[in-house]
């Protein structure tokens, strides 16, 4: 399978796999490196995606830049006259 088909298949798996269902994750392969970007709601979800990508692309060096979102109290309100 060419790299482009493999990337497309992996992108769909991250969205469609029952245990993942993330539509906003960017997966970019550069040489022997695969970089993940995006935001998720828990560390568990971040790790699940990493595991799935590692299974799909064995041998690639993985750089996981996915951020776990915070849910802290908001900053100042936006005034809308």
């Amino acid at each position: 399978m060419t790299e482009e088909y493999a990337d497309a298949q992996l992108q769909r798996a991250i969205a469609e796999d029952a245990g993942i269902a993330e539509l906003g994750i960017d997966i970019v392969t550069r040489g022997d490196c695969v970089v993940l970007n995006g935001h998720v709601e828990s560390a568990q979800r971040r790790e699940t995606i990493e595991r799935r990508v590692t299974e799909h692309l064995p041998g690639y060096r993985l750089v996981n830049e996915i951020v776990v979102l915070k849910a802290e109290a908001p900053g100042p309100a936006e005034e809308l006259p």
Binding site: G24, Q44, L69, A71, A77, E78
Partner: protein, 238 residues
């Protein structure tokens, strides 16, 4: 002035329960209502809806929600809606609600909405039945939003959708997927319905602020965009 708190795309499951609660407990001090702009669950299961209910029930302000595409994934949208309503959350789909906010009455009209794209680069109801169905679904959704907004008897109207009514708040998303992120038909409904503010989610890589062609302010409150438990808007601030 009406104080509106809003967040979308919280994607709650058992691993998220409790994360929003500390901030939500402060709502009484900063908001009159909390709007949830869809994608409340990961896959749209009843079990996940139970988690959403646990996280957003028994808050000090009314909670008004629309569902998102994730909430439809397991074909249990009706059951999900029932669970949320059972927890006291007002779930809108082509419908509206009025909330007393001191001296003013806030009307919120909501639909999930759908895609199709934006003026000059949008889908048309032409060709294959699947393509026509896609466009007709969005048209029907926009018509329901127009009706829900115009039928409101209130002082201030707010439109709540999951999909975006404008391309402005999609900036940061790949251009190629804009037709899957929203439709200008929703903006047309918002303008026709006399809304003062439109709130949506869905576009995780988008940005916060936009305006409809009719001049209505639009805010993308997807959690990955606002990166806090919710945003607060003071509508009618002087």
């Amino acid at each position: 002035m009406i104080r509106i708190a809003a967040v979308g795309d919280v994607h709650v499951d058992a691993d998220v329960v409790g994360r929003f609660r500390p901030a939500l407990n402060e709502l009484a001090d900063c908001a009159d209502v909390l709007l949830l702009a869809g994608d409340l669950t990961r896959h749209g299961t009843v079990e996940e809806a139970d988690c959403v209910a646990e996280e957003f029930a028994d808050l000090p302000v009314p909670v008004v929600a629309v569902l998102g595409n994730h909430d439809y994934h397991c074909d249990q949208a009706d059951e999900v809606t029932k669970v949320l309503r059972g927890a006291g959350i007002i779930v809108l789909e082509g419908s509206s609600t009025v909330i007393d906010c001191g001296a003013q009455r806030l009307g919120v009209a909501g639909v999930k909405g759908f895609g199709g794209g934006f003026s000059g680069r949008c889908a048309s109801a032409f060709g294959e039945p699947e393509m026509k169905a896609f466009v007709h679904y969005t048209e029907a959704s926009a018509q329901r939003l127009t009706s829900a907004l115009t039928e409101l008897d209130c002082d201030v109207r707010v439109a709540l959708t999951h999909y975006s009514p404008v391309p402005d708040t999609l900036a940061g998303e790949p251009l190629e997927i804009y037709p899957f992120l929203g439709s200008y038909l929703l903006a047309q409904a918002i303008d026709a319905g006399g809304a003062s503010l439109a709130v949506h989610g869905h576009a995780h890589r988008g940005c916060e602020r936009g305006v409809t062609p009719g001049g209505v302010r639009v805010r993308n409150v997807a959690h990955p965009v606002i990166r806090q438990a919710f945003s607060v808007f003071h509508l009618g601030a002087v």
